[in-house]
C-alpha cells in the first residue's frame, strides 16, 4: 500500500450531509398516508429523476427511504408521500407546515423512460403509485413519444386509492387509467380484483409493451409473470424494490436483496435480476 499520508484536512462524507427542508404544505391522501410538500431552507431544490429516493429524516428519530413523488420538472417544491408505519414515518407524517426536517439524496436508479414508440403499462399496488407518480407526469409531458400509455392501480378498498383526484386529469392527458379494488364494496362500480388479474383481463401485454411495476413483492412478481406470459420481453419489465436503508450510498449493507444492493443497483431494476429473489420468503 501507499505511504502513510493522511489528508491534511479532516473530511466529512458529502452523502451524509443532510439538507434541511421546510414543510410548505401537508396533503392528507388516504388513511395513514400523507404527502409532504417542501422546499430547502437554503439553496435550490436538488435535481432528481423519477423513482429516485430521498433519505428523509425526523429530528432525533432517524431516516426513512422515501421516493420523491412530485414531478421531476416541478421547480418550486418537492413532495414525499409517506405511509405511517414505524416510529420514523409516524414522526414524519406528524410534520406541519413550517416544520423543518431533512433530506439526503437523491439516491438510486431511475425508471428508464427512453421507450419511444412502445406501449407503456404502469402497474401499481397501493402506495406503490408514489414512486410512479413522477413517471406518470414525465410520460404525459411527452405523451406523443409513446404508442399508448396505460395505468392499472389497485388498492385494498376505494378509500385506499392513492392520488385518486388526479386520475381524471391523467385521463384527459392521454393515460388510460384502470383502478381496481381487492373486494366488492357498496357504491363501487369499477373493477374488482388484484392488479395482476386486471392486467391479464385487459390484455395489454405483448412484445411491444414496456412495463413499470411497483408494489408489494408478491404483487410485483405476480404482475411481472402475467406480463411475461403475455409476451412482454422480461427485460422490458422494470420493477422497484423496497428494503431497509440506512445510508443510501451503498456502504451500510442493509438494503441487500440477494446479490443486489438496492440503493445502488436499484430501486429500479429489470425483472430478470430479481425474478428468483422476490419469490424467496424473508430474503
Amino acid at each position: 500500500m501507499s505511504a502513510v499520508a493522511p489528508s491534511a484536512t479532516p473530511t466529512a462524507d458529502p452523502l451524509l450531509v443532510p439538507r434541511v427542508h421546510e414543510v410548505t404544505a401537508v396533503i392528507q391522501e388516504i388513511p395513514d398516508v400523507v404527502t409532504i410538500r417542501c422546499i430547502p431552507v437554503e439553496g435550490a431544490l436538488f435535481d432528481f429523476q423519477p423513482a429516485q429516493i430521498g433519505m428523509v429524516g425526523a429530528f432525533g428519530i432517524g431516516e426513512a427511504a422515501i421516493s420523491i413523488s412530485s414531478p421531476a420538472t416541478e421547480s418550486s417544491f418537492h413532495e414525499y408521500t409517506i405511509r405511517r408505519a414505524g416510529a420514523i414515518t409516524s414522526a414524519l407524517t406528524r410534520l406541519q407546515p413550517g416544520d423543518q426536517f431533512w433530506v439526503r439524496g437523491p439516491f438510486g436508479t431511475p425508471w428508464d423512460l427512453d421507450l419511444d414508440g412502445r406501449d407503456i403499462l404502469i402497474a401499481a399496488g397501493g402506495i406503490g403509485l408514489a414512486p410512479l407518480r413522477s413517471a406518470v407526469y414525465a410520460l404525459l409531458k411527452y405523451r406523443e413519444r409513446y404508442a399508448s400509455t396505460t395505468l392499472v392501480i389497485g388498492a385494498r378498498s376505494s378509500e385506499h386509492l392513492l392520488y385518486a383526484n388526479e386520475y381524471e386529469t391523467w385521463r384527459e392527458h392521454g393515460l388510460a387509467v384502470f383502478d381496481t379494488i381487492d373486494h366488492p364494496e357498496p357504491g363501487w362500480s369499477g373493477r374488482v380484483g388484484f392488479v395482476s388479474e386486471v392486467v391479464r383481463e385487459l390484455g395489454v401485454s405483448g412484445p411491444s409493451t414496456s412495463a413499470l411495476v411497483c408494489g408489494p413483492d408478491i404483487m410485483t412478481f405476480l404482475t411481472a409473470d402475467v406480463l411475461v406470459a403475455g409476451g412482454v420481453p422480461p427485460e422490458q419489465v422494470q420493477v422497484t424494490l423496497e428494503r431497509n436503508m440506512q445510508c443510501g450510498n451503498g456502504l451500510c449493507g442493509h438494503c441487500q436483496l440477494g446479490p443486489l444492493i438496492v440503493c445502488r443497483d436499484g430501486p429500479v431494476v429489470r425483472y430478470p435480476a430479481v425474478a428468483a429473489s422476490l419469490r424467496v420468503k424473508e430474503l
Binding site: V4, A8, D13, L16, P18, G57, G86, R243, N244, I261
Partner: protein, 395 residues
C-alpha cells in the same frame, strides 16, 4: 547474545545471505529482543499511535501499546468452537498464539463513528457535520488473513461508486507490521478459505518470530519504501540463509496443522435458499451477532440518532450493525427477516455467496473468529458441508 553476533558476522563474510552484501539492498534482516524495543520506540516517534497485541481480560486484543514490554510475552491460547482460553507458556515468545477477537476492522471501520450533531433552535435545524481526523497508526500483529480481510473490507467501503471518506482517511493513516502465524488456532482455515498463514502482500513490514535452537529471533522483510526506510534506520544485520531455511521449515510444519476446510462448492451451496439445513442451524443459533462483530469483513452499519437530555440536540452515530438483529431488516410495519433461519441464511449466503456478485470475491478469509466466538459453537465450515449434502427428495 554474543553468539548471534558471531553467527551474523560469519554469514556476512562467509556464506551468502539473501540480502546481498556489497551495498545491494537487503531483503531480510534479523532482529533480537533489544532491536524489537528500538523498533517499537521508533514507531512511537513516527506515528500518533502504535497498536499491538496485548493480553487483557484473558484474551489477546489489539490495543495501543507504549513499548515492547506490553507485548504478550510467554502467552499462547487454546481455541475451539465456542471457546477461547489464554495460557502462559513460560517461554519468551511474543507472537506464538492464534488470532484474538480484534481485527483491523475496529481501526479502519470503528464500532462507533460520529456523523453529526444537530441542534434545534426555535424550530430551526442547525447541523454540525463530524469531521474525520488524520491520526496515523502503526499496527503490529496483523496476520495474513487480516491483511486480506482489510483488502476485502476496503473494497466494500471505497471500491464502489461512493467512497467512505472516514474509511479512506483511517486506511491512509495505517502502517502495517504483519506477523507470520506460527501457531494457527484449530479454528483457522486460511489455507482453503483465504491465503494465509504467511503474509505475502499488503504489509509495510512483516516479521517472522523464529523459535531457533539458539534463541528467539525475528526475521524482518519489507513491503513498502516506507517500511524499508524505517528498518534501514535501525541498522539491523542481514539474515543468514540458515535462519531462512529454519523459517521455511517452521512454515511447512504449520501448513500440516489445518484441520478445518471450506468446501470448494461453498459459493454455490449457500444459495440453496430452500435447503432444510437452514432450519437446523436456526435451532442452535441465538442470533446474538457475535459472529458478525468479530468477522474482519462484516461491514454493516446503522445510523443511530440519540436526543440529548435538553431535547434540542440530537447526535447521529454510525454504529456496527448485524444482519442477525430484527431491526436490521425493519421495513414499514415490521422486520422483513423474522425467522432465525432467514437471518443466518442472510449472513452465510452473503459472506460466501452473493459477496462474489457484489464485490467479485468471497467475504471470508478463513480466520475462524466466528467459530471461536459463537457462544453455541456454530462452525460455518460444517454448516457449508451440510448444505452441500444432497437433500432427500421429500425432506
Amino acid at each position: 547474545m554474543r553468539r548471534w553476533l558471531e553467527v551474523e558476522s560469519g554469514v556476512v563474510s562467509g556464506e551468502p545471505s539473501i540480502g546481498q552484501p556489497g551495498g545491494q539492498p537487503i531483503d531480510w534482516w534479523v532482529m533480537r529482543a533489544g532491536d524489537l524495543h528500538r523498533f517499537i520506540s521508533l514507531l512511537k516517534s513516527e506515528f500518533d499511535e502504535v497498536i499491538g497485541p496485548v493480553a487483557v481480560d484473558g484474551v489477546i486484543r489489539l490495543r495501543p501499546i507504549e513499548s515492547a514490554d506490553d507485548l504478550p510475552t510467554g502467552f499462547t491460547e487454546q481455541q475451539e468452537t465456542g471457546s477461547y482460553r489464554l495460557l502462559e507458556t513460560g517461554t519468551s515468545l511474543r507472537f506464538s498464539y492464534g488470532l484474538g477477537p480484534d481485527s483491523l476492522k475496529s481501526i479502519v471501520h470503528p464500532p462507533r463513528s460520529p456523523v453529526w450533531t444537530m441542534r434545534r433552535h426555535d424550530g430551526t435545524l442547525i447541523v454540525d457535520q463530524a469531521l474525520h481526523g488524520t491520526t496515523t497508526r502503526a499496527v503490529i500483529g496483523a496476520r495474513a488473513c487480516d491483511l486480506r480481510a482489510l483488502d476485502i473490507l476496503e473494497r466494500t467501503q471505497t471500491g464502489g461508486q461512493h467512497t467512505d471518506p472516514a474509511f479512506a482517511v483511517h486506511r491512509q493513516g495505517l502502517f502495517l507490521v504483519a506477523i507470520d502465524c506460527s501457531h494457527p488456532a484449530p479454528t483457522c482455515f486460511c489455507d482453503t478459505g483465504g491465503d494465509g498463514p504467511v503474509a505475502d502482500h499488503g504489509y509495510d513490514i512483516a516479521i517472522t518470530e523464529l523459535d531457533h535452537p539458539n534463541g528467539i529471533v525475528y526475521l524482518v522483510r519489507v513491503g513498502t519504501d516506507h517500511g524499508r526506510s524505517l528498518i534501514e534506520s535501525l541498522h539491523l544485520a542481514p539474515a543468514p540463509r540458515t535462519f531462512l531455511e529454519h523459517r521455511d521449515h517452521q512454515h511447512r510444519s504449520i501448513s500440516r496443522e489445518f484441520i478445518r476446510e471450506l468446501p470448494k462448492d461453498a459459493a454455490k451451496v449457500v444459495r440453496l435458499a430452500d435447503h432444510p439445513h437452514w432450519n437446523d442451524v436456526a435451532e442452535r443459533c441465538l442470533t446474538c451477532g457475535n459472529c458478525t462483530a468479530v468477522c474482519p469483513t462484516c461491514f454493516c452499519t446503522d445510523m443511530d440518532d440519540i436526543v440529548g437530555l435538553d431535547g434540542e440536540t440530537a447526535t447521529r452515530t454510525r454504529v456496527w450493525d448485524t444482519c442477525f438483529s430484527m431491526e436490521y431488516s425493519h421495513l414499514g410495519p415490521g422486520p422483513h427477516r423474522t425467522s432465525p433461519a432467514a437471518r443466518y441464511r442472510q449472513w452465510l449466503s452473503h459472506k460466501l455467496g452473493t459477496w462474489h456478485d457484489q464485490f467479485g470475491e468471497s467475504g471470508c478469509v478463513g480466520c475462524g473468529r466466528c467459530i471461536t466466538w459463537c457462544p453455541v459453537g456454530i462452525d460455518l465450515t460444517a454448516e457449508v458441508e451440510s448444505l452441500g449434502r444432497p437433500v432427500e427428495a421429500n425432506a
